[in-house]
Amino acid sequence: MALKLLRDIFAVAGNESRQFWRNRTAILISLVILPLFFTVSLGAAGGGATTRFSPTANIPIAFIDNDLSTDSSRLLQTLRSSGDFNNLLLGYREDSALAVLGTGKIYAAIVVPEGFHNHLANNQTSKIILYADDGEPGVGDQISATLRTVVQDFNPRVEVQPERRGLSQIEIVQKGALFSSFNIGLVVVLGVVQIFATFYEIAGGMAREREDGTLARLLVSPTGLVPIMLGKTLFDSVLATIRTFIVLGLSVYMFGARPSTDLATLVIVSLIVALLTMGFGFVVSALRVGARAVVIVEFFLVLFLFAFSGLVIDKELLRGLSKAISNILPWAYGFEILRRTVLIGRPLLTLASDLQIILAATVIFYVVSYAIFALSRERLAF
């Protein structure tokens, strides 16, 4: 029984493979155009490795100078010229800044305390205080990390003393320091390319098979739904892995990406995102979406994910309904895993909660599509 299942899975996967390698258009789109288009366009737009890309640059942050000294003015100039803090808001007092922190008006407050200049003048360590909004955990640490880097350039004897507002139970993702290469581009490109390609390969492939009658041919043979779904998944996983290598190669050699994680982790994480999308592709296919309509669904899916999954706009920066949508989108957790591994080199196993969510969502997608197909085989066949 198990042997038959394995044989059928490999037979279906082999069949997918033979068809794919014979279809020049499919090869061109899946392995050349999609990876190249997204990597090059994003790389060109961001200037690749030569231009700094800072996610903190436009975040509104209050700058409160309680020292009013030449050193505090110089610090302000250094922060502004760093390119990491272009939206520093002056005019706040410490208490008024803390009052609006958490309302979305400002995300942090940098306070230069009295005596800042004197400490430095006496060769002592001087502190600046950073109040970050704990309602936006990722942002807080991002600002903190970036601030530390910039301040170190200003004067190594200056310390950043983070002060939390509210209870912080949520894990903080540090992002700032590593954003200066194409790493963020690599995260976005890997996510988008895998979603674009795998969704179309599964949902489009199933729709075409249904329209061509080959799915019905498989279904009148003794093979079951499971080998069909798993065989297609197996082959698409191989393709997804090849795509990861292509995107990685382009990102590293053309735009100087330096991922903070090892190759195996990168491949696994990319595959996890691809598998989730394949599961969703099967669900869409179970709803009998035609081959042409799949393209429209894909367009809206990618648009939706661009807006709500934290792929482009940080999940932590979303508010209200957007935030709620983001929380239920399993892809958002996939991108979060991609970010944490690629940008700060977090070991995969330390991201258990995100992994559990995305794996559970993948299993749910597969089970739901299987259930719909099994309940009504004509749905699958015709």
Partner: protein, 324 residues
């Protein structure tokens, strides 16, 4: 007497408010070439899809090759072959590659599969075409390739659903002959079609399907004569006199006679020797005979009569088109 290979009891399929197949009771014997004849939308394909386990019946039971289609679907699939509009081959693969894929799915041992593939390629005359992509073949060869795939695992029952539609007449005739040969060798075949001429030529028995119901089952001859027991002989005989016509009228069993120079039309109850008797009588009366034609009721006439007439069929086809 051969055992039933297919048995259905009250088989019904309802899609929403539309009953595609209504209480189908059918027995098909082993080695029989059974035709399901009906217009598009009559329920033929839905019946085949249910018997192939592609769709579940709403009510009723069916047994195919000794297995229940609901309870033993996997066994049913092992014992059937299907060629249908909706069951096709991978166009980007060669015929051999398609057959190899299906030989794995049907658990054929590799050596046996290779031998069977060679046998089928030979039987259907594929030879050098076996390395061609299916998409590069003509529709006739594609149909043959589909039949190869359906016969690969030596099924007990073969379903051929509208296989000749879209085929050129030569390929259609070749396919009919091949199917007849298969049945003569013991294969059970269900042949669905809306072409009236096909079952008359090749089927052992025909089931007339209309609006989801099996209206009548019988051999093509039985069906034809179930609606009309009359035979007609048309004789082209110029210049016949009234006396000569009267002589023919006096022949036994003649129901109707008409003469419109030069055509004499004689109708009587089904009588195989009618043409001979009329010819003899005319020659005896000194008439000149140019041609003699015997006109039997056709399956098409039988179909029209069994399904309530042409207007009823038109109404059905219109409603069927609206549903689509």
């Amino acid at each position: 007497m051969a055992e039933n290979t297919i048995t259905t009891k009250g088989l019904t399929k309802v899609f929403g408010h539309f009953t595609a197949v209504d209480t189908l009771n059918l027995d098909v014997k082993g080695g029989e070439l059974f035709g399901l004849l009906g217009p598009n939308g009559a329920g033929k394909t839905t019946t085949v899809r249910m018997l192939c386990t592609l769709i579940d019946p709403t009510r009723g039971t069916a047994n195919v090759a000794g297995y229940d289609i609901r309870e033993q679907a996997a066994e049913v699939r092992r014992n059937i072959g299907v060629v249908s509009e909706g069951v096709s081959l991978y166009k980007d693969l060669t015929i051999e590659e398609n057959l190899r894929l299906f030989s794995t799915l049907y658990d054929l041992p590799r050596t046996k599969a290779e031998a069977r593939i060679r046998e089928l390629m030979e039987m259907f005359g594929f030879r050098e075409k076996s390395k061609r992509l299916v998409s590069a073949l003509s529709s006739g060869w594609q149909k043959k390739a589909m039949i190869c795939a359906a016969l690969l695992h030596e099924p007990k029952v073969l379903f051929l659903d509208e296989v000749t539609s879209g085929l050129d007449p030569q390929s259609a005739i070749a396919l009919q002959d091949f199917t007849r040969k298969l049945c003569d060798e013991g294969e059970t075949v269900i042949w669905t079609t809306h072409y009236m001429g096909e079952p008359e030529k090749i089927c052992d028995r025909v089931g007339v399907v209309f609006a989801g119901r099996l209206v009548k089952v019988g051999s093509p001859n039985e069906l034809k004569h179930s609606v009309s027991e009359l035979s007609t002989v048309e004789v082209e005989t110029p210049g016949l006199s009234a006396t000569q016509v009267e002589k023919i009228r006096k022949l036994g069993k003649v129901c109707k006679i008409s003469y419109n120079d030069p055509l004499l039309r004689v109708t009587c109850e089904h009588h195989e020797d009618l043409a001979e008797e009329v010819t003899k009588a005319l020659m005896g009366a000194g008439a000149r005979i140019r041609a003699v034609n015997t006109k039997e009721p056709t399956l098409e006439e039988a179909f029209i009569s069994l399904t309530g007439g042409e207007e009823e069929i038109d109404r059905f086809l219109e409603s069927s088109a609206r549903r689509k």
